[in-house]
């Protein structure tokens, strides 16, 4: 269904749009962000600086951005998809040349007031482009080989650029989110079976190549995999993070050790406690109850996204909403698996909670599109 078919008069206009926003979703986002403020306050030893206060400011800014994005009709964002994707690609290329290096990878461009990670932007713009593509593509062609190849190229090109940084975590997230969108768009399941088979082959190739001239990953990435497979093999080296993280999480018990009483985070046994490992602090201080609460908040966000996607008759709206929800899901699922020792340490933040500006801004802007889809759905 094209925007030309919209009954434009039926969609709310002006300030009335605000009433038609997906308010439960907004409240859930504010709640998760508040969990983040609380934990950032705690890991700073009971202080708003250096993390909680900037995070709050950015969140307010992010909410404003979300509101603005929500007010703009969804068809505008569909039309902007190609531009946004192209811009992201340009930034990814730019980061190759002017990017700052952090933790052995080129990941961000310093804009002065914030650090922009083009790969964060890429996750959303890729979803937008794919959604727009399948909105445009006539349904019968969806599973034709050529029309399958086109989105595969759209996915693999930025993936390749991200891998060069190198950022394996984001690359895998991009591919998974892109693949998920293609699946939702109705591409025949045989392709996915083939890709999964190929993936298994690739994984074995990655392991086979280790130590040879054509080694596919960097040594530190192999070490992370080793550590993931057996953290106790190197408890003071690479396995240290994951071991300490599991200790912190497990020692939280049913109801936690109390706010600001987590010894593992307070005594610095936890690495990166304000960013990637912030969930550990939450689980240590508020226990199973605290951890489950956040998990339920996240799950509810997914539910509201799903309901928005199922309620709309607009194909772009439905696809982009679920694409963003898949991205969001991947963020927290990978992060939590990581700190619980179920996945290798790949450097994925906990959405809305981890300290970090660009990830949260991009995420809130993306939820703005979800709101827009909700407000401007055909009635």
């Amino acid at each position: 269904m094209s925007y030309l078919e919209y009954n434009v008069k039926a969609t709310p206009s002006g300030l009335r749009k605000v009433l038609y926003m997906n308010w439960p979703l907004t409240l859930l986002l504010i709640s998760t962000a508040c969990v983040g403020f609380l934990m950032l306050y705690s890991v700073a030893g009971g202080s708003f600086s250096p993390w909680a206060e900037p995070q709050m400011k950015r969140f307010v800014l992010g909410l404003a951005v979300m509101g603005v994005v929500a007010m703009v009709p969804i068809w505008f964002w569909r039309n902007m998809a190609v531009v946004a994707y192209g811009l992201s690609i340009l930034l990814l290329v730019a980061v190759e040349f002017v990017g700052a290096t952090g933790m052995g990878a080129q990941r961000w461009i310093d804009l002065g007031f914030m650090r922009l990670q083009p790969s964060e932007l890429m996750k959303i713009t890729l979803v937008m482009l794919l959604a727009a593509y399948y909105d445009w593509l006539p349904a019968p062609r969806t599973s034709r080989p050529f029309w399958v190849l086109v989105p595969v190229v759209m996915i693999l090109f930025p993936t390749f650029l991200v891998l060069r940084q190198p950022d394996l975590g984001t690359a895998i997230l991009l591919m998974t989110a892109g693949g998920g969108l293609m699946f939702l768009a109705g591409v025949h399941w045989v392709y996915f079976a083939a890709v999964i088979a190929a993936g298994v082959g690739l994984v074995s190739a990655v392991f086979q190549s280790r130590g040879t001239d054509w080694q596919l990953l960097k040594n530190y990435q192999y070490r992370r995999i080793d550590t993931f497979l057996d953290p106790s093999s190197d408890p003071l080296g690479a396995g240290y993070h994951i071991t300490q993280s599991k200790i912190a999480l497990g020692s939280g018990g049913w109801s936690g050790r109390g706010f600001m009483q987590g010894t593992q985070s307070r005594l610095n046994f936890l690495p990166e406690k304000h960013t990637d490992f912030i969930f550990t602090t939450l689980a240590e201080e508020f226990g199973f109850i605290g951890g489950m609460s956040l998990l339920i908040l996240y799950a509810l966000i997914l539910v509201f996204c799903l309901s928005t996607a199922l309620a709309t008759r607009d194909r772009f709206s439905a696809l982009v909403t679920l694409g963003i929800s898949i991205n969001f899901f991947l963020y927290f699922a990978v992060n939590m698996s990581m700190v619980m020792g179920l996945a290798p340490v790949v450097g994925v933040p906990l959405p809305m909670v981890s300290y970090g500006g660009s990830a949260m801004l991009v995420l809130l802007a993306a939820f703005g599109i979800v709101h827009s889809a909700h407000i401007h759905r055909p009635r």
Binding site: P138, G250, T263, L267, A283
Partner: protein, 648 residues
């Protein structure tokens, strides 16, 4: 572009189906995460809590204060004094090099120690203190304290270290402590963790080593909370340890000091034993060394000087050195024969100057012989033939058994290093060790304390005390532990015929009081303190028949190592024995000329509890004695001075 509504309907159905499938997958994964969280936080929570506590809590040991050592009068022999060291916390210092340079202007810094400190600094986290100088004087510490504002990160620290205020006097008795070495740890089956504290001191030699368990005490501990880099955040609780027990010795430090001085530079040993209690009043080995040198680690040059000295200052000759007892053994031979009833005190033996034993001549020291001698005359003049005769009659096994009863050839339980058992041989021993039959000649040699016979000066003192009292006196070194008296060494009666013992004592009395006695020159003329004794001169070489024919070479003409050992054992007062004294002077020549005067002086010093009056000495000796006393006082005074400083 308009789309076919049926097609639209189809795509929407496909989308809804797949969206729900994706939602289902997400729900399953969220469920998986929840399960995992439950497993870790509910089922395994206790294990993880334990691990978190292990991370957080660190057990630190508080070293115990070592027990101190006193003499019988409460004078300090070994104690702990504050030892100052200068430590630097690199984190607080900022510019470490500048601070160290500034510090170098104030106090002497050992470049070697500095180098070690720098290496340590590179390895350890910046908040851990590094020792820059150890055993710093109070003056240096005050200088550093005054200039503290100019020396960021530098702090003076106080620990405890051991000092021995009596220096050389009790080196062999008290021994010394030193830093725990890997060797020390390897000797222990399950070393206490406190031993691994850097710079912790452990007893190495002597009483310090033998009574280590008593002196060390029990370490306390404190639990501290540390962060990931090991910095102590706060103390959670502490359990105080137990200080080591204070030991009071039976030694009289002033008497010991006198004896040490009296032995002079000779390679010698002297023991003063309290006959009533077995208390070791003085137990001196000469030459000695300063144990304080060892506490911090002795320099190579000093150590080599000690090990290469032919007088062996490191050896404790009183218990570790064993010597042929020579004629001092004759009381044992006599007592064996008397107790068997083979002779009476008045029975005589004819001494022609030698005794033919299985076609070999055993000579008396007096070529012309002593003629007819009874017990008293034979002991007084130390006639050898009399004892050859007795020994052949009574047999070696009886003599050996008698020696054991008098405390020879048995190990006395003393907390000193390398206490030797000596040797009182019998037939079985020779068969076992040398796989040879016992020969009659061996018995003759044993009769006069030569041949296989070996005894330490301490054993000779015990033997003398047992003869003097008729009781099984046992030596005792530790008088009390933490104020609790240890059992006395008075012992049970030996069960020997009291008349025989009395005859033996009378014979010993004659040795140093009869004009013809071998120790008459070293008699005590104070009637209250008459001394009984026995000289001994033990050969360390065989005198060949050819040499005997040509005339035995005089001791003074022999190189030091080949001269005879001089021995003397004595007890006094004769009527009511209080002290037994034994003196052994290695290669000192004759017992009566070298050992007896020393023993007499030591005995008088012990009996008077200080400098004896000159009229206790024979008249003709008084001038010489006075000169000796004055010389010894001069020598003792400078050694006393460092003690005064330590006390201040």
């Amino acid at each position: 572009m308009r789309r076919n509504p049926r097609e639209l309907e189809h795509t929407h159905k496909v989308f809804s189906r797949r969206a729900l499938l994706v939602g289902g997958i997400q729900a399953a994964m969220v469920g998986g995460l929840a399960m995992r969280m439950r497993y870790m936080q509910v089922e395994q929570a206790d294990q993880f809590r334990l691990l978190a506590e292990e991370n957080r809590i660190n057990l630190r040991l508080i070293p115990p204060t070592r027990g101190e050592i006193f003499d019988r009068e409460g004078r300090i022999l070994g104690r702990n004094i504050p030892s100052y060291r200068i430590v630097l916390v690199p984190e607080d210092a900022g510019d470490v090099d500048k601070v160290v340079a500034d510090l170098g202007q104030l106090v002497m810094l050992d470049p070697e120690e500095l180098e070690r400190a720098r290496t340590e600094m590179r390895r350890s986290p910046p908040f851990l203190p590094i020792t820059l100088a150890d055993q710093v004087t109070w003056e240096d510490i005050s200088r550093v304290a005054v200039n503290a504002p100019a020396l960021p990160g530098v702090t003076p620290e106080v620990g405890l270290t051991r000092v021995y205020p009596r220096h050389e006097d009790l080196a062999h008795v008290v021994g010394y402590v030193g830093p725990v070495s890997d060797y020390d740890l390897s000797q222990l089956e399950d070393p206490e963790p406190v031993l691994r504290i850097p710079r912790f001191q452990i007893g190495k030699v002597g009483l310090e080593a033998k009574q280590e368990d008593l002196l060390r005490g029990k370490a306390g501990s404190k639990r501290v909370e540390v962060n990931a880099s090991g910095r102590v955040m706060r103390e959670l609780d502490r359990r105080e340890g137990e200080p080591g027990a204070d030991l009071q010795l039976t030694i009289d430090a002033d008497l010991q000091e006198y004896v040490q001085a009296r032995l002079g530079g000779e390679s010698a040993a002297a023991v003063v034993l309290d006959c009533a209690t077995g208390d070791l009043r003085a137990i001196s080995s000469s030459p000695s060394f300063d144990p304080n040198l060892f506490v911090r680690g002795i320099s190579v040059a000093d150590y080599r000087a000690l090990t290469e000295d032919k007088y062996r200052p490191l050896a404790n000759k009183t218990v570790q050195g064993v010597y042929p007892p020579g004629s001092t053994f004759k009381m044992v031979t006599a007592m064996a024969a008397l107790e068997e009833g083979l002779i009476g005190p008045d029975d005589t033996v004819y001494c022609p100057g030698y005794l033919e034993v299985s076609s070999r001549r055993f000579h008396c020291w007096k070529r012309g012989g002593h003629g007819h001698v009874d017990l008293q005359n034979s002991l007084k003049q130390s006639c050898d033939v009399y004892y050859y005769d007795l020994a052949l009659k009574v047999g070696i096994d009886k003599i050996s058994a008698m020696a054991n009863r008098f405390g020879l050839g048995v190990r006395h339980d003393l907390p000193m290093s390398a206490v030797a058992a000596g040797l009182a041989p019998d037939r079985a021993w020779k068969k076992r060790v040398h796989d040879q039959e016992w020969l009659v000649g061996d018995t003759a040699n044993a009769a006069i304390g030569q041949g296989f016979m070996l005894a330490s000066p301490m054993q000779l003192a015990v033997m003398t005390a047992r003869i003097a009292t008729g009781r099984e006196v046992a030596p005792r070194l530790v008088k009390s532990v933490n104020g609790v008296e240890t059992p006395s060494g008075a012992g049970e009666p030996l069960g020997m015929n009291e008349n025989n013992l009395r005859q033996l004592r009378r014979a010993m009395y004659a040795v140093s009081n009869d004009r013809r006695g071998t120790a008459y020159g070293s008699r005590i003329i104070d009637d209250a303190f008459r001394m009984a004794g026995k000289t001994g001169t033990s050969q360390v070489r065989n005198i060949t028949a050819a040499e005997r024919a040509a005339g035995v070479i005089r001791n003074e003409d022999l190189p030091w190592e080949r001269r005879d050992h001089a021995l003397f054992v004595s007890f006094a007062p004769y009527e009511n024995p209080r002290y037994a004294v034994s003196v052994v002077i290695e290669h000192g020549g004759g017992g009566s000329s070298a050992a007896a005067p020393v023993a007499r002086d030591v005995m008088l010093q012990a009996l008077y509890g200080g400098k004896p009056p000159l009229d206790a000495y024979p008249k003709k000796d008084r001038g010489r004695i006075q000169a000796l006393q004055e010389r010894l006082e001069r020598e003792q005074r400078p050694r006393a001075r460092p003690d005064e400083k330590d006390r201040a």
